[in-house]
């Protein structure tokens, strides 16, 4: 089972490298990328400074795998990749990187939305929103 988790934030260099690696796959005509960024939410007067991510890793990796497989079945994709952070990700840093590629744009547009929505709903990842004063609340996806 592929491990979709990466320790800490997902660096812009990692994202750039992922794009570069696909230059040799010349049947691709369209990429679409979704990046989740940690937001400085204001909750009852306190501002979030970071999210600490944990996961039920084995179940989560299975879920990521199933979501990618389902996307390949539904849409005419060439490639798909999912990377999610574990541990601390500061406000403004990237915690989710979903990358799909296809011959034409429509398949990529549709697949990225389908995959991100399923990731939010179905993957056992947990987020502790930490405030400046080191108190915290637990994030819940809407």
């Amino acid at each position: 089972m592929k491990n979709s988790f990466r320790p800490g934030p997902i660096a812009s260099e990692f994202i750039g490298d992922a794009i570069k690696k696909h230059q040799s796959k010349t049947s691709i005509g369209a990429h679409d990328i979704f990046l989740g960024q940690v937001r400085a939410d204001n909750i009852e007067g306190k501002e979030v400074k970071a999210i600490e991510y944990t996961a039920y890793e084995e179940m989560a990796n299975k879920a990521f795998h199933e979501i990618r497989e389902a996307a390949f079945e539904k849409f005419d994709l060439t490639c798909s990749h999912i990377y999610h952070s574990l541990g601390t990700v500061l406000v403004g840093e990237i915690c989710l990187f979903v990358f799909v590629s296809s011959a034409h744009r429509k398949a990529s547009f549709e697949a990225i939305e389908y995959m991100v929505e399923r990731i939010k709903k179905e993957v056992p990842v947990f987020g502790k929103e930490v405030f400046e004063d080191n108190t915290h609340v637990w994030k819940v996806n809407k």
Binding site: M59, F126, W138
Partner: protein, 79 residues
């Protein structure tokens, strides 16, 4: 019967551990496991969680054996 139970996120914070063995009556199912857990951790009554049996979420009473992997999962927050 001894069942390995894993806790995550807000649930682990309240149980004070990430995993432990829980003794359940036999035959064991998720319903009687849940009763044992609620007795041990009354706070669970107030927390939202789903149960995963062998890494699959369940929505009805499910029988469990010695090798079953149980996890209490609070609401998801990925992405």
């Amino acid at each position: 019967m001894e069942i390995r139970v894993h806790y995550f996120g807000m649930i682990a914070e309240n149980t004070g551990t990430n995993s432990e063995y829980i003794t359940t009556p036999q035959p064991s199912d998720t319903k009687n496991l849940k009763m044992v857990l609620l007795e041990k951790y009354p706070i669970l009554e107030k927390l939202e969680f789903n149960i995963a049996v062998d890494q699959k979420l369940i929505n009805q009473n499910t029988s469990i054996s010695n090798n079953t992997e149980i996890a209490l999962l609070p609401p998801f927050a990925g992405g």
